[in-house]
Symmetry: C2
Amino acid sequence: MKLASYKSGRDGQLMIVDRALQRCCPAGDLAPTMQVALDDWSNTAPRLQEHYERLCRGDHSETTDFDASKCDAPLPRSYHWADGSAYVTHVELVRKARGAEMPASFWEDPLVYMGASDAFIGPEDPVAAESEDWGIDFEGEVVVVTDDVPAGTTIEEAAEHIKLLGIVNDVSLRNLIPAELAKQFGFYQSKPWTAFAPVFVTPDELGNTWDGARLHLPLRATLNGKLIGAPNAGQDMTFDFPTLIAHCAKSRSLISGAVIGSGTVSNVGSKDGSCCLAEVRCLETIRDGRPSTPFMSFGDRIRIEMLDHEGTSVFGAIDQRITPFEPSRG
Amino acid sequence: MKLASYKSGRDGQLMIVDRALQRCCPAGDLAPTMQVALDDWSNTAPRLQEHYERLCRGDHSETTDFDASKCDAPLPRSYHWADGSAYVTHVELVRKARGAEMPASFWEDPLVYMGASDAFIGPEDPVAAESEDWGIDFEGEVVVVTDDVPAGTTIEEAAEHIKLLGIVNDVSLRNLIPAELAKQFGFYQSKPWTAFAPVFVTPDELGNTWDGARLHLPLRATLNGKLIGAPNAGQDMTFDFPTLIAHCAKSRSLISGAVIGSGTVSNVGSKDGSCCLAEVRCLETIRDGRPSTPFMSFGDRIRIEMLDHEGTSVFGAIDQRITPFEPSRG
């Protein structure tokens, strides 16, 4: 099934959306919000699924046209957002561009950082930044949402905890990153917002494009109408989702609604382009000695989407503009 | 006023607790949970305060004895947990013990990492770890809870967003830290749990020990009945809470219920002892060439508390045992 959250208060209103993303109905008493559904997923999911099937058959009374512009993030705020850097080829490329060796351990031990789970935004929400000098970039990623994951869960067990999938734009402020990483405490100011495509989908919707660990479809990133890249999310993902989840649950449990991200989708050689401008700039630096593609400017429009083999949008589109915010001046 | 959450489901049951931590009553329809209260704090707080005053006067009908053993964290799960390292003297000491220089910028630019806001535990909950080899340590800290903080909030404005204070044990797995920091993505597996003292208190409860930016009382950490330290949280805090909040809200807003931590409380010279074993071990290393105090073992009992000038517990006590967990073996 496919689930969205229409904007409503802090947690949104949970909506059941048909496969084609054309019609929807409120989940209503079944679960007013996505987190309520996730808190008791094993009971809630079958009942939502029943309504979903009726909706897809055209056999549901309370339906309306689905309107992505009304969407918040499918889970508007979460208690845990752990983002990996699972396409190690991307990490290697970034290092190569600045002339640094990547530690060999990066191929063995997943890189994961803790993101701001209160900073999720909807698919058409503006990306607000104080200054273009911050180096505003998009990052196209795949995410999974888990139920409760006990501490010490194995990779084999972890696969069973994947309940929903989605795609995101993990906004990065590239020019704030070097100073933050030098402090060794990870990203903080440099990772302001994460925007989500309109719907989360259950694994069964994905057919053979989902193998239980990786999603084998291209993720398309388009900036101001120009395709920047469409790397295949199923290729070159060094650490698959069960491996990332087991890593995240090594020293403690995760609670239902934890969002685990792949990091920027990237393929070896970037033959189908890139899902972030940083990678484009790294390729330019390696080729030309310096980057020529700028980061994003106010007014720029970033669209991120995943189409299935029939060309149908799986999650709906992230389609955002970059806008300035005025910091408070007290 | 003082507020706790009795264990009940995932979000607890919000309880109003009297000043002496002797009697309590459920907040009930005023706000079933702490997050519900925080989501509409400007409306909820005055009504909770009215019940609190009646409770403290002995003029409330539905009261029972307050039982800290029933407590979850006052906010059992949060959407944002940003922990500072605001006592830079501690950071300097840790560096000195390993013969490394601390960058001068650490005195100017706050260190903050993103913690696991879904991993909050109650004051008497066990600290579960798979192995003693992980180097299990406590960290005594002060935290504040904010309401909604707009992006770009100034330090002056930030003070107004502090709605509640508490104390925590930010459990650290010291032997997992070096490898994680070397990866530059910050702490993840090495920061498993954060335990909270029974109650959050509003700033007005703290009298002149709270100056709007720092809390001027010793934080007492006792391991197996032996006082490890009682440094004063108001001294040597290089970055006060408004500064930490402004740092956290530089590139985006924070939502109500964000928890901002001080990092391990530490005084120059550690004359009144330490609030973590890592600091004790650093002092030993500087003095003797190597540490002699071990990290915690299974069965150890850690108590963290803050007493006011009359010797009364302000937040109640964190009082936990270290216990092993068996990782799943699938």
